[in-house]
Amino acid sequence: MMIEVKDLHKTYGKAKPFEALRGIDLTVGDGECLAVVGKSGSGKSTLLHLMAGLDTPTSGTVQVGGRMLNKLGDGELAAMRNESFGFIFQRYFLLPRYSVLENVALPLMIRDVGRADRERRATGSLAEVGLSDKAGNRATDLSGGEQQRVVIARALVIEPNMIFADEPTGNLDSETGEQVVSLMFDIQKRRGLTMVMVTHDFDLAGRCDRTVTVRDGRIIEAP
């Protein structure tokens, strides 16, 4: 799936407006892995949210897989995220009262997939990240690295075309971070997924196909 971003602006607040993005043009090719780096407050997370249709731009357009996100209604946008986008967050966002398996199956539950079917698919997804033996555990009882692998399984369970990762190793020590990252790249390459990864870690960014740097809401050429 290709992403085309054209002249993207995003301003927060009305009384004291803050320009998070000041005209971004960007293209991510199908199957490409793009790293977006920048300091905190540079606007890189805002860019990711806009590309994933979690937020609406003040002006400019985002086109994903040939569809203009700003032309889609709440339902269509939600369906697109549910069917095509996998999310990996720095803070995992696993539901504490749910088991690992239920957490992984959550996007399928949202999609109205029946229980047996979604549990079967979630089990397969968990095997792929090497956590089959933790299926029955409470998600929040796992270690940080394991939790992030559950998040990866949750992103994979929908067979996505697209992965959006926001500081995937931000809460992990370097060793576990490395394990998680290799797993991500391994899967991305194997499945030929398009991936957009926001990070401030230049080592991590260097392992992507391409890196763009965001500063003060604009893309500056890579150093």
Partner: protein
């Protein structure tokens, strides 16, 4: 998401903070319980009054009197009339009676099925065997009379030897319970009335012809708050009238049977009789008056109960708003993973639904259980002997209605928090630390 998943999610979320959920449900339970109890109580009182009234009179009957007659003045209760010197003078001078001609006229009125003179014979006393003698009043039962009985059965209308005994006379006449009295004999003593009161002396009164008449107790009337009349067949009362007063052509009341009438029909019948110069006192009017009072009480009590439900509703809104605030991240995640606004709305509405279902079920269930336990206790104590009376009565329709009301209240309460949740910005929610 599928309904079953929404339900499971709701249950899981509600069990996250058990105490809080229990307290919200308790609020609904208290409201529903209060509303059920006030409904049970007023319905019970209404039925109680209807059963009591049936011991004195019966549905679909009217007492018809001459508007200008003696009884007219006594029975007239509902209307304020203008002063009429002529009438006042007539009223003071003597008493106007109804005659068989009146019966004929009343019978011809549409919707009158039967009309009988209502005689007022007065026995001196009643006794059973060698019991003491007691004062008693008698009334007539007519063909198709229906009266609430504690024991025995209604006799044939033409059975001159049958009598229905008021419950209050059981013990004085030496019967230990109602069923013992059925089939037993009692004696009424009648004395002929003097034709004129002038020059009447006690010795003359003692020399008036008198007779003892023996009756068989065919049934015992239910216990009532006020003692009522004994009933004899209208044929027997007619004979007694002849004996006691020397004529059966003078009476002050006519007892009228009608088919079951709608309120407009009853009003039309009363208007027609009114045109002919008759006043009407209907059983339905008396019951109506009671029902109106009970309805006022019902509305007042239910109003209070509904205030309790409203307070519970505010509690639900409050708690659910807190819940939405606490679960901001979860809502953001669900949205990011593709749950639409409508879906987030439903997540919270299902929680409200579960609260309403449990609250309604427990509240109504508790009230019904309370009634089932309390009714027999009341029957043995406070309402002892008042047969067929349940002070707490639960009409199933009303109970189902109250249950649905609890669910509705809960759903209405859930709407605002659910809307707020559905409008949360996922980015805001995910960013929040």
């Amino acid at each position: 998401m599928r309904s079953v998943d929404y339900l499971r999610t709701a249950e899981s979320n509600l069990s996250r903070s058990r105490l809080r959920t229990a307290l919200v449900i308790l609020a609904i339970v208290i409201g529903t319980f209060t509303l059920s109890m006030t409904t049970e109580f007023t319905e019970g009182v209404r039925q109680f009054i209807h059963v009591q009234a049936r011991a004195f009179a019966q549905p679909d009957t009217l007492n018809v009197y001459l508007k200008n007659g003696d009884t007219g003045r006594r029975l007239r209760a509902s209307a304020v009339e203008e002063y009429n010197p002529l009438r006042a003078a007539v009223a003071a001078r003597d008493v106007t009676y109804m005659t068989p001609q009146d019966i004929e006229r009343i019978r011809k009125t549409p919707n009158v099925s039967k009309a009988y003179p209502r005689y007022r014979v007065q026995p001196d006393y009643v006794r059973a065997g060698s019991s003491k003698k007691y004062l008693i009043s008698v009334d007539s039962f007519y063909p198709n009379t229906s009266i609430s009985l504690a024991a025995g059965k209604l006799p044939e209308a033409e059975d001159g030897k049958a009598m229905l005994l008021p419950y209050q006379y059981l013990a004085p006449l030496g019967f230990s319970k109602a069923t013992d009295a059925v089939g037993q004999k009692v004696t009424l003593h009648f004395t002929q009335a003097p034709q004129s009161l002038s020059g009447l002396s006690p010795s003359a009164l003692a020399n008036m012809p008198a007779r003892d008449v023996e009756y068989i107790i065919s049934g015992v009337l239910i216990d009532t708050l006020q003692p009522q009349n004994a009933y004899l067949s209208y044929r027997e009362v007619t004979d007694l009238q002849q004996f006691q007063f020397g004529t059966i052509d003078r009476f002050s009341l006519v007892f009228v049977f009608t088919p079951q009438l709608s309120k407009p029909d009853l009003r039309a019948l009363k208007a027609a009789l009114d045109n002919e110069g008759y006043g009407v006192f209907a059983y339905a009017d008396a019951i109506d008056r009671f029902d109106r009072i009970i309805n006022v009480v019902r509305i007042a009590l239910n109003g209070l109960a509904i205030i309790v439900l409203l307070v519970a509703m505010i509690g639900i809104v409050n708690i659910m708003l807190i819940s939405v605030a606490e679960r901001t991240q979860e809502i953001g995640l669900l949205k990011a993973l593709g749950l639409r606004r409508r879906g987030v709305f439903s997540v919270f509405m299902y929680e409200a639904l579960v609260i309403g279902l449990w609250g309604g079920l427990l509240g109504v269930g508790l009230a019904v259980g309370f009634g089932l336990i309390l009714n027999p206790v009341l029957g043995r104590t406070l309402l002892k002997g008042l047969e067929g009376v349940k002070l707490l009565s639960f009409p199933p329709g009303a109970m189902v209605g109250i249950f649905l009301l609890a669910v509705l209240v809960s759903l209405v309460a859930g709407t605002m928090p659910a809307l707020r949740a559905s409008r949360l910005d996922p980015v805001d929610a995910l960013r929040r630390e």
